[in-house]
C-alpha cells in the first residue's frame, strides 16, 4: 500500500515539475501580427550565470521591448532539456522569431526543424550549436580565438627584449579557455615567448593568487601576466603587490586581462594594468538590425556574424570607453 502511495506521489510530483517547466513561455498569446508588433521568443541562460550573462540579458531587454515594436517572451534555464521544451512551446504559441543561446550544443535539430516548418525564423546568439546551417537565419557569436590573437598581437607589438610569461588559464575545456590559450601556446611553441608557468585557476581569483605566489617564491623572473579573465588578473596583481613587484604601464610586469568589467577598465585607466580584451555580450542590436532587414524583405549576407570586439590599452583608454563598454558597475 505504502509503495503504491509513494508511486502516486512521485507521479504527481513529476507532473507538477513538468507543468512548471512548460508554463513560463505560455504567455504572449495571439495579439494578431497585423498590428505590426513582432512577436519573438527568447531562450537564454539565466542572468545569475555570470556578470557576462547579466549584461547580455539586460542588453536584450533594452532592445526587444514594446517601445521598439517587439512583443518578447523570455525563458531562462541552464538546462538544455528545459530550454528545448521552452523553444517548442514558443513554436506552438506561434512567435515570429526565435532567439536562442543554447545551454548545450547538441539536441536542437528536431526543434529547429519544427520551427522551420512552422515558418518561424531562428537566430542564434552568443553560442553556436551543432545543427545544419539551413536551420537558422544567422548566428551572432563571439570568436574567443580572435580575442586571444588580439592580446598576443598586442603583446608582440610591445617589442619587449624578452617575454617571460605567467599564463593563468580559465576552466580547462571551456570555449573561452581554449580560444584564449591557443594563440599564446603557438608563441611558446615558436619560441618567441618563454612560458614561465602555465596553470589553470578555473576562473578563481584566490587560486590565481596562489599560483603567482608560488612563481614569485621560486625566484623565477617574469615580465608578463596573461590571465584569461579579469578576476584572475586581479588575483595575480594581489600577489605581485604583496611581493613588492610593480605592474602596469612602464613597470616591471605587464598585466593582461579579458572580459572588460568596469572595475578592470578602471584599473587600466589608473595605469595598474596594461590590456583588457573585450568579450562582448551585446548582440541584441545586431539581431534587431537583421530582423528589420528580413521584415523589409532583404536577405542576410552571412550566416555567422562575429561580434565586433575590441581591446583597451591602458595608454589610450578613456572614461567614455569605461562607461560604454564596461560590464557590471
Amino acid at each position: 500500500m505504502k509503495k503504491i502511495l509513494a508511486l502516486i506521489m512521485i507521479a504527481v510530483l513529476t507532473l507538477g515539475l513538468a507543468a512548471c517547466v512548460a508554463t513560463p513561455p505560455a504567455s504572449g498569446q495571439t495579439t494578431g501580427t497585423s498590428s505590426g508588433v513582432i512577436k519573438i521568443g527568447i531562450v537564454n541562460n539565466p542572468p545569475s550565470e555570470s556578470g557576462y550573462r547579466a549584461a547580455n540579458v539586460a542588453d536584450f531587454e533594452r532592445v526587444f521591448n514594446e517601445a521598439n515594436g517587439y512583443k518578447a517572451s523570455t525563458f531562462y534555464s541552464l538546462k538544455n532539456d528545459e530550454q528545448l521544451n521552452a523553444a517548442q512551446q514558443f513554436i506552438t504559441d506561434g512567435v515570429d522569431y526565435l532567439l536562442i543561446s543554447a545551454a548545450a550544443t547538441d539536441g536542437w535539430t528536431n526543434v529547429l526543424e519544427n520551427a522551420k516548418n512552422a515558418g518561424i525564423k531562428v537566430f542564434l546568439f552568443d553560442r553556436m550549436m551543432n545543427v545544419d546551417e539551413s536551420l537558422f537565419e544567422a548566428a551572432v557569436v563571439s570568436d574567443m580565438a580572435a580575442q586571444g590573437r588580439m592580446a598576443v598581437q598586442w603583446l608582440k607589438e610591445q617589442e619587449l627584449p624578452e617575454y617571460n610569461v605567467v599564463h593563468i588559464q580559465g576552466a580547462m575545456g571551456s570555449d573561452a579557455q581554449i580560444g584564449r590559450t591557443t594563440p599564446l601556446d603557438d608563441e611558446f611553441a615558436k619560441g618567441t615567448m618563454n612560458c614561465v608557468i602555465q596553470q589553470t585557476a578555473t576562473w578563481d581569483e584566490a587560486t590565481a593568487k596562489q599560483i603567482v605566489e608560488s612563481v614569485i617564491n621560486s625566484g623565477e623572473k617574469f615580465n608578463v601576466v596573461y590571465a584569461e579573465n579579469d578576476g584572475m588578473a586581479k588575483g595575480a596583481v594581489a600577489a605581485l603587490d604583496e611581493a613588492g613587484i610593480t605592474h602596469g604601464v612602464d613597470k616591471e610586469v605587464i598585466i593582461i586581462g579579458f572580459d572588460c568589467n568596469k572595475w578592470a577598465l578602471r584599473e587600466l585607466l589608473a595605469g595598474n594594468w596594461n590590456l583588457d580584451v573585450q568579450c562582448s555580450p551585446f548582440q541584441a542590436d545586431k539581431i534587431d538590425e537583421m530582423i528589420k532587414d528580413l521584415e523589409a524583405g532583404k536577405t542576410l549576407p552571412e550566416k555567422i556574424v562575429i561580434n565586433d570586439e575590441t581591446y583597451f590599452d591602458a595608454r589610450t583608454i578613456t572614461q567614455e570607453d569605461i562607461d560604454k563598454y564596461g560590464l557590471g558597475d
Binding site: 589553470t200 578563481d204 596562489q210 578576476g231 594581489a238 605581485l240 611581493a243 613588492g244 572595475w263 557590471g328
Partner: protein, 356 residues
C-alpha cells in the same frame, strides 16, 4: 620520559604531525631553499615576510578557521556540514554589499563583518535545526544550502562580481602597516586562542563529545543534545563568516561562483586528517588546524613542482588516501601485530610511529 612519549604516540596528533614532518623533509630534500623566508618591501611600502612558508600559513587560514567549526559539528552531529563554502560566499556577499553602501571606515568594516556573521549564523542555525530537531542526516540537511547558497549570494550581489577597494581592507587580507606577518595568519591564531579559551573555561568541549559519543547518555545526564548541536552550528557560522570576509579582503572582490570553491571538501579532509573520527565523538581542534596546513603545504609543494593545477587534486587525493589509510584502525592493528612478531621482546613506545 618513556611515559610521555607513549602518551604522545597514542594521541590523535601523531598522524597529522608525522604527515607534516614528512612533507617538510620531502621539500627540504627536493629544494633546501623551499622554506627560506625573506623580507621584501611590498607595493604599499611596508617591509613584509615573503616565501613559501608564509604562503602556506597564509593560504591555509580560511580553511583552518572553517575547520574549527566543522570539527565541532562533526563531533556532536556525527556528520559534516557541506554547505560551508556556499555560506561563506553568502557571508562575503553580505560583507561587500554593506561596505559598498557606506564609506569604508573601521567601524563600517566591523559592522559589515558583524552583519555577515549574523546572516551566516542564521543560515547555520537553519542547518542546525534540520539536523538537531528534525534529525535529518547532516550531509542531506546541508545539501540544501550547498546547492542554494551561491544562488542566494548571487541575489545579494545582483549578478555582478562587485569590487571593494580600500587600504583598510588590504590590511585585513594582506598586511597591516608595520607588521610583517600577513593578517590572515594573525586572525587565525587569535581565533584559535579564543575558541581554545571557550572550550577550556566552559564544558562545551566535553558536552560536545558526550553528545557525539552517546546522545541518550548525554540526555540522561542533563545535557540537552539539541542545544549542543545548535551551538556547534552557530560557532561554525561565525567561523564561516570570518573565512569568507578574509577571502574577500585578500582580492578585494566577491565572486560568488568561485569564492572558496570546493573548500568544504578540503575542510572535511582537514578534520579527518586531524584525527577526529568523521562518525563523531572525540575531537581534536589542533589536529584539524594542522590538517589545514598539511593540505596547503601539499598544494604549495605541487605548485612549486610545476604540477599542472588541474592535476593537483589527483595528487592531493593520492597523498590523502595514504594518510587516511595509515590512520585507519585496521592498518594500525596490522602494523602493531607485525611489530610484535618482529620484535617480540621490546613492545612499547614507538609503535604507532612505525605504523606510520
Amino acid at each position: 620520559m618513556g611515559n610521555g612519549l607513549k602518551k604522545f604516540t597514542r594521541s590523535q596528533l601523531v598522524i597529522p604531525l608525522f604527515s607534516l614532518l614528512l612533507l617538510v623533509v620531502f621539500n627540504l630534500i627536493r629544494d633546501v631553499e623551499f622554506f627560506s623566508v625573506s623580507i621584501v618591501t611590498n607595493n604599499q611600502g611596508n617591509r613584509v615576510l615573503s616565501g613559501n612558508l608564509i604562503s602556506i600559513l597564509n593560504g591555509a587560514s580560511a580553511v583552518a578557521i572553517i575547520s574549527i567549526g566543522m570539527t565541532l559539528i562533526t563531533s556532536s552531529c556525527k556528520g559534516q556540514d557541506i554547505s560551508v563554502a556556499a555560506v561563506a560566499a553568502i557571508a562575503g556577499s553580505v560583507f561587500v554589499s554593506v561596505l559598498r553602501s557606506n564609506e569604508i571606515t573601521v567601524p563600517v568594516i566591523i559592522l559589515a563583518f558583524l552583519f555577515s556573521c549574523l546572516v551566516t549564523v542564521l543560515f547555520s542555525t537553519f542547518n542546525g535545526i534540520l539536523v538537531a530537531i528534525f534529525k535529518i542526516q547532516p550531509m542531506i540537511a546541508t545539501l540544501i544550502l550547498f546547492s542554494a547558497g551561491r544562488s542566494i549570494a548571487y541575489w545579494i550581489n545582483g549578478g555582478a562580481t562587485p569590487t571593494v577597494s580600500s587600504p583598510l581592507l588590504s590590511s585585513i587580507g594582506g598586511f597591516i602597516p608595520g607588521i610583517p606577518i600577513p593578517s590572515p595568519i594573525i586572525i587565525m591564531v587569535m581565533f584559535l586562542i579564543l575558541i581554545s579559551l571557550v572550550l577550556r573555561f566552559t564544558n562545551l568541549g566535553l558536552y560536545t563529545q558526550v553528545v557525539g559519543i552517546n546522545e541518550e547518555t548525554a540526555h540522561l545526564n542533563g545535557i540537552n543534545p539539541i542545544l549542543i548541536k545548535l551551538i556547534a552550528f552557530m560557532i561554525s557560522g561565525i567561523c564561516v563568516a570570518t573565512a569568507g570576509c578574509i577571502t574577500v579582503c585578500r582580492i578585494g572582490l566577491i565572486n560568488h561562483e568561485t569564492l572558496l570553491l570546493d573548500a568544504e571538501m578540503d575542510v572535511i579532509l582537514t578534520v579527518a586528517i586531524g584525527g577526529t573520527a568523521l562518525s563523531g565523538g572525540k575531537f581534536n581542534l589542533y589536529g584539524s588546524v594542522i590538517g589545514a596546513y598539511i593540505i596547503q603545504a601539499l598544494t604549495v609543494t605541487l605548485y612549486a613542482m610545476k604540477v599542472p593545477s588541474a592535476a593537483v587534486k589527483a595528487y592531493k587525493a593520492i597523498v590523502i588516501i595514504v594518510i587516511v589509510m595509515i590512520s585507519s584502525p585496521v592498518v594500525k592493528e596490522f602494523a602493531i601485530n607485525l611489530y610484535k612478531k618482529l620484535f617480540k621482546k621490546q613492545v612499547g613506545t614507538n609503535i604507532p610511529m612505525k605504523a606510520s
